[in-house]
Amino acid sequence: MTSVRIAGVGMTPFDSHPERTGRELFGSASNEAIDDSNVPRGDIDALFYGNFMGAFAEGQNHQGPLMADAAGLSVPATRFESACTSSGVAVREAVSKIRGGEADVLLVGGMERMTNEPTSFVTEALATAGDELYEGRAGMTFPGAYALMANAYFAEHGATRADLAEIAVKNHAHALENELAQYQREISVDDVLEAPLVADPIGVYDASPITDGASAAVLVSDEYARERDLDAPVSITGTGQGTDQLALQDRASLTRTPAAERAAEEAYADASIGPDDVDLAEVHDCFTIAEVLALESLGFYDRGTGYQAARDGETTRDGDLPVNLSGGLKAKGHPVGATGTAQIVELTKLLRGDHVNSDAVSDAETAITHNAGGTVASVTVHVLEVVA
C-alpha cells in the first residue's frame, strides 16, 4: 500500500483568541504548514477542511472557499463535518485521494472558534452532536452523555473519580512545556476532585476546555516526496473509520465504543501492525473517561482495566506507552474541528524530533491517533510511522 507522507505541519496556539476570526486562525495554521513543507503553493491540488459549529459561533457555513482563500489557494475546497472528528475525517479522505492517485499534494486542516460565545451557548452547540429528538429534548448535554458512560463504567468495573483524575493530572503534566497548549500548569488529584461538577461524576477538571484554534498539514504522495527530495520522514500508513448509532440509548453497551474498535481494527490492518507495535498515542480525551474507553477500544487494555493506566504510570511520559504527550484535549485544548489534524501535527513533531516532548520518545517509530465525534458515534484512527 502506498504510504502518504506528511510534508509539513502547522498549528496556532490553542487558547482564547478573542481578536482573531476563524479565517485568521486557519490562515495562520495553514501558512505555517505550507512553509514547513517546502512545497510550492501552486502544487497544492485541493483543501480538505474540518469545522463543526461555524454556523453557531460565527454565523458562517460554507467555510471551504473561505479557508482556501485564507490559505492563499484557489483550488477545490470542501468542508467536512463529523462533530469533534471533523478534521479527522478530512485527513482520512485526503489520504484516500492521494493513495488513489487522484492528487499528489493536499492541504488538510480544521478550525474552531468557541470562546467568543458564552458557555451555555457552546453547551447548546455541542449538544447538537447528539440525537436531537431523544437526547437534546430531554436536556442531555455533551458532558452529560459522557457522565452517563462514566457512571455505567463505574458500576460495571469499579473505577472511581480518583482513577479518572489521574488522567487529567497526567495530561496537564505533559503540557507543561508545550507552548501551543491552552493550560501549561500542573494540577493535583485533589484539584480535580474538588472542582465544581458539570454533570456528575464529571467535574470541570475532567473536561477539556472551550478553545479557539486551527491546525493544518500538507500531505503528499511518496512519489512526489521523492521527486522533490522533500524532508518528510513521517508517513500515514494506516487509516480507519467507524460509525455507531448517534444516540447513546441505542447502543448495545454504554461502556464500549465499538465504532472505535472497528476504526482501530481497520487502521491496524491497513498499516500491517497491531497494538503491540505502537510506541505512543494521541487519543480523544474530551473527558477523562473518554481516554479510558479509547485505550480499551484501541486494544491497549482489556475491557474494564483502562482506568488503571494513568494511575499506574503506564501512559505517562516515562511509561511504556505515553498517551497524549501533547497534553491531550484536556490540557492542550479542544477547538473541536481542529482537533483531528492537531493530533497529526503533534505526533509528526514528536516522531520527527522537533517537539518539546520528543526526548521522551526518542526511539519511537510508530504512533496512533484516535479522534472521536459525539459520544463516539464517529471515529477516525490513523497510524503514523517513521519511514525514512
Partner: protein, 126 residues
C-alpha cells in the same frame, strides 16, 4: 393549533397516554420511531409492540450546566433506562436532587412532562 405532528410527536403522545410502544422487525430486532427500516437488518416490516410498563435505570447523572433553554430547570437528574429491548433517555422525578438515592438498576415508570416551551420524557421510581 394545527401544527404538523411528526412521528416522534405521536410517539411522545403515546408515552404520555400510557400507551408507549417500540418497533419490532420480522427478525425480532427492536428500535424506536421514526423508522422506515430496521436499523439492524434493513427489514421494512416494522410492527408496534407495547413498551413494558416498568423500566430499569442503566445509568444516571445530574446536569448542572445545561443548554440555555433548560437553565431554569438546572440542576436536574437525567437517566438512560431500559424498557425491555429498548432504552429511553429522560429526566428523573421524585428523587433526591443530588441523586443520592439513585442507583443503577432502580425500577422506574415512564411519563411525559410539558412546560411552556418543551415536552420531555420523565422517569419515576417504582
Amino acid at each position: 393549533m394545527s401544527e404538523p405532528r411528526t412521528a416522534f410527536d405521536s410517539f411522545v403522545d403515546a408515552l404520555a397516554a400510557g400507551e408507549g410502544y417500540f418497533l419490532e422487525c420480522s427478525n425480532g430486532h427492536a428500535s424506536l420511531p421514526p423508522r422506515h427500516v430496521c436499523p439492524d437488518c434493513g427489514d421494512a416490516s416494522l410492527e408496534r409492540r407495547s413498551l413494558p410498563e416498568r423500566g430499569e435505570v442503566e445509568s444516571h447523572t445530574i446536569i448542572r450546566v445545561p443548554a440555555p433553554q433548560f437553565e431554569a430547570d438546572a440542576p436536574y437528574p437525567l437517566a438512560i433506562a431500559s424498557f425491555g429491548p429498548v432504552r429511553l433517555t429522560g429526566r428523573l422525578e421524585n428523587v433526591d436532587p443530588d441523586g443520592g438515592d439513585v442507583e443503577v438498576g432502580l425500577p422506574v415508570a415512564v411519563d411525559v412532562r410539558e412546560t411552556d416551551d418543551h415536552r420531555f420524557v420523565v422517569f419515576t421510581p417504582q
